[in-house]
Assembly symmetry: C3
Homo-oligomer: 453 residues x 3
């Protein structure tokens, strides 16, 4: 309560006094009024709780960077492990810096309908002054820095998707060069179209709660463009059309990565409600947690059973990708479905990722970790699944969203990739690939003491 | 504050006006009153904070699934690593789905004194309407979905205990089949007896804050029954009575698993206060955090010193199991003891787990990760340790609780296990066990490139 | 709102009644007043939120213990991996118990200007009674147990720094013996000088938000003293002055450790605001999160680029140490700088850690994981960097702080180390070092099945 409340309280006390309230009683009342007035208001507490919720969610999403790193480090060969780790840690740092310098402003502060303004100087003000408007519809009700923190870890997620798909052959510095462009420009501009008030949301009503399209499909589209440019790994596709599986070197790491991503997704989706400090928001966040968890469970079991029925084996890497597919599938709308429907959305994601991984191999699109299937194929499914339970979404809107996000990201990545190819080359030499990129790029081995079989 | 408060405020303002308050001042007062009335009430904020606390706690407990996975993956041989990972990821998904479909309803919604009603259709409603009762004793004061999320990760914990004990020889699909029964029926029904208002709590006053008995002893009892059915691993017990240690393949993973479990336990125990949004609750949760941490510390050092004195070596796996034992020991009452007593409860847990692991080997009960000792032996100790500081618990009540939980879980598991044995067999063949279950069940290796010594 | 508010409300209702408010309306008003009075006050909610924030932050910092364990386990050779893990898990437990018994009292409860009182009996009371003072400047506004929990994980952090530096040769039990002294006496006494109201803060105005000096430099100073006493690892420095790199056995673990530490640091720095339940506090915590993240990003890229330019290779271990350096650098003041300045403070940290690691090798100070450079060299930089944006800090104050913390910790560690050396020896024998300390100290191998190349 603020000063005007206090003033009113004191006036009322005066009124009461006229009715024979003793001086002593009046004093008690004034003290009580003063105490209330000096305390924190519920609007301020809600601001604090929302900010804290945002920061915890952001920390969980940041943790996903570790998940992608472990997943990818587990699924590549040991001779390419240090390099994929280096790409992952460096892309996270790059994403943070580029989004601070350019991306956040492009996406939110200088957002337009189609292209952002060009004010690159970041000025992040806290919205303390806006707290009194907390009840209002569009007023900021949490620290804008907490919003930046939450958003920046999303950028890194989009970029992490790419690293897995081009693993074991793309040059480290070309990759990081592309990361600069992706996190500073490609991602934020399309992000602005939906979340920054741009045309996808405003004109087409494209609906994407936490980014099945905006984050995951975007990352996968960039991955696909680069995979096409760099080509498959040596030895993956035999001349006779057979696909040689190239198993990952350390599957416990891959399983750990899945668990980290699963946990981090509670921040990714749960934080995307953007508020928790009201009964409705709290109920929504709880529903998002439950649905996120159920979709992952559904996806995992679906992919595991698909593999069992098709291969006769309980393929762990398929189960892992199934869980991630379930998570991607529910991300575009973890709020509207019931828990049962969320499970089914995940199940479909798990089936799709299985089919997609086999299909891409038929097309000789070599994606060592299955990232394009998990985030692209299933990302599209997630965007469409919004239509199952969310009456506000339209088929047209979702389709336009998919087309625009994919088209923009794929197209710009292709152009940027070709430029990098011309300048410095995208792929290591055949000899370097055979030797492993760890020694070539990083000068060290991931497991120098373990004899390779 | 709600509409009636606002009405009252406006009336009071009217009263004030009669005492010569100017029109301008009256306007200020009405504005203030409106602002207060439009804001969120403290009851609503408490609802939001409790829900958020619940969800964060649940995310921490979900993380324990990763802890069990890493612990078990580190303590088995490399040829059985993929399979134990597959079991762990799949049992988590299975637990979530079965608890959604059946278990939660059995345990809470349709709970009875002895057996639940048979309404299997899940209907989880949010309790927004009950917020006004937030001050009441038994009113729900957080989202019921957040409660579901918190409870479901407990089921998975109970099931995770089993996977470690039967590692390296139990068939994957028989295990997952049992997981369906365990998480849908066996666990929820006995859970209902204590936490769902059933006879253990109501009639016998059985006291178990976060589940030393209800979760950990339950998991261990099921594990013991299955271990007896599947028998020890080939080569573990020599004909002359000697015990051959079978060292785990990757100890850093086991240590990581311990840390993950330790961290997750802050959610497991800390969340079991079920509320944080009052001074008393907040103090209680803080005490639970401190006691949980101290018990783990005590258990770790006790087991480490036991090993040093007995074996002359600082046995890391014993230290890990000691920490987990400390955590299990304090789980039945992390609230009543002082921090010092909590440490001692953990110390006793650490000593007991050491003794129990050696003793079970004498009985030729082969438990590759020590799960029965950690969760069973020490689970019993935890239930009894409640008597040390909690005046509400009775020796009879605790003893009946132990007997009922153990008897029910062990008995039903034995029956279900025998049925599975008859239908599909519980154990892989000798040749498959020698080759390793990874290739047999999952068709892949955990570390395909590392030469096995 | 409390009883006096309720009384006042009823009086006001009485006053309103005199103005012709109907009996029915009066009843509604009384009900409303009662409801408000029975609810929780905003001060109590703030207490709960602050406590919860503290506990979550503490859990994140506890998680850093896993980070140090993984980092160090990844950077040592496989024959010394179990032992470094054992040291890490045991030091955490030791730190918790010593800080409970002695350290916390020394640092806070019995704190003096120079030396603490000698009351070793821990009495941790909750400050529920102080809640009404929540508005006051110095009143405790959260559970004191949550404060203990947050502080205790800091002690463990300081101690974790030491274990890495003396890895692969210091005796396990001598190390743990030192841990007892460090966590019970050396750390808490100097901590008291700054955070417990002692002379560093009071007399010299030494400013250190979350402990670049108090935690990190302290740990590094102890590490340096012990490294000097135990000497370099066999074979690290050739007779001709060349430095033989001794690569770590498992780099994915090291990268995982970095991510865990990065995540945990959000609790370490973010929790050091000590409050979140107001608009200002929430904004501050958000700023701390952002700056912590940016400094890590800056440090990582700076060290990676330094390595690329100097060695021609993207050295992953340098990148990891760069990120940690950025985190250490910002820890003394993550609140005052802008996000851009925080990035630059991290960049300087990343450059410094690179230079320092090479320089210490020239001095034949053998630090297998670079802990002295990360936490010591960069800790000093962090303390000085406070001057860049925080007008309250003085050059003299910061310099005195550095000198006192370093001098005290280095000096006492040297003395304690010499005593341990005399009693039991600090270093394993040459044969034991060649064989690896895992077998000698722990009787087991980290990776028994992987053939060593």
């Amino acid at each position: 309560m603020n000063r005007s409340v206090m003033k009113w309280l004191m006036l009322a006390v005066g009124a009461g006094a006229a009715f024979g309230v003793s001086a002593q009683e009046a004093e008690v009342m004034v003290e009580a009024a003063a105490e209330v007035a000096s305390g924190i208001s519920t609007a301020e507490l809600a601001y604090a709780l929302d900010t804290f919720y945002f920061l915890v969610s952001g920390a969980f999403v940041m943790w996903m960077a570790a998940g992608f790193s472990m997943l990818e480090a587990g699924l590549v060969r040991s001779k390419n492990t240090v390099e994929i780790l280096t790409k992952n840690v460096a892309l996270f740092a790059t994403a943070c810096i580029m989004y601070l310098l350019i991306g956040y402003n492009f996406m939110y502060t200088e957002a337009g309908m189609y292209f952002p303004g060009l004010d690159l100087i970041l000025s992040m003000e806290d919205h303390a002054a806006d707290v009194v408007n907390a009840g209002g519809e569009d007023a900021p009700y949490y620290s804008s820095l907490s919003d930046f923190f939450f958003q920046v870890v999303f950028v890194a997620t989009a970029m992490s998707i790419v690293s897995g798909a081009v693993a074991e052959r793309m040059k480290l510095w070309a990759f990081l060069g592309f990361a600069v462009i992706m996190t500073g420009f490609i991602y934020p501009i399309q992000g602005m179209w939906s979340w920054g008030g741009g045309f996808l949301g405003e004109t087409f009503g494209y609906s994407d709660y936490a980014g099945s399209g905006i984050v995951h499909l975007c990352g996968a589209a960039a991955a696909l463009a680069l995979v096409i440019l760099v080509g498959p790994r040596k030895g993956k596709y035999a001349a006779d059309g057979r696909v040689n599986p190239i198993p990952g070197a350390n599957l416990p790491l891959a399983a750990l990565g899945m668990f980290i991503l699963w946990m981090g997704w509670f921040g990714f989706n749960g934080g995307s409600e953007l508020a928790v400090a009201s009964v409705d928001s709290a109920n929504n966040v709880a529903r998002v947690f439950v649905n996120t968890n159920m979709a992952a469970s559904g996806g995992l079991l679906a992919a595991l059973l698909m593999a069992k029925f098709r291969f006769g084996k309980a393929d762990l890497t398929m189960a892992i990708n199934g869980a991630l597919a379930g998570l991607v599938a529910i991300t575009a709308d973890p709020l509207s479905p019931s828990a049962g429907l969320a499970t089914l959305i995940g199940v479909v994601g798990g089936v799709l990722v299985f089919v997609s991984i086999l299909f891409l191999d038929k097309l000789k699109i070599d994606d060592p970790v299955g990232a394009i299937s998990v985030h692209g194929t299933v990302g599209i499914w997630g965007v469409l699944a919004v239509l199952l339970a969310n009456g506000d979404a339209t088929f047209t809107g979702q389709l336009v969203g998919i087309a625009v996000i994919f088209g923009w990201t794929f197209g710009t990545t292709l152009i940027v990739g070709l430029i990098f190819k011309a300048i410095m080359g995208l792929r290591v030499t055949e000899e370097e690939e055979a030797e492993g990129v760890d020694i070539v790029e990083c000068g060290m081995e991931a497991y120098p003491e373990f004899k390779q079989g």
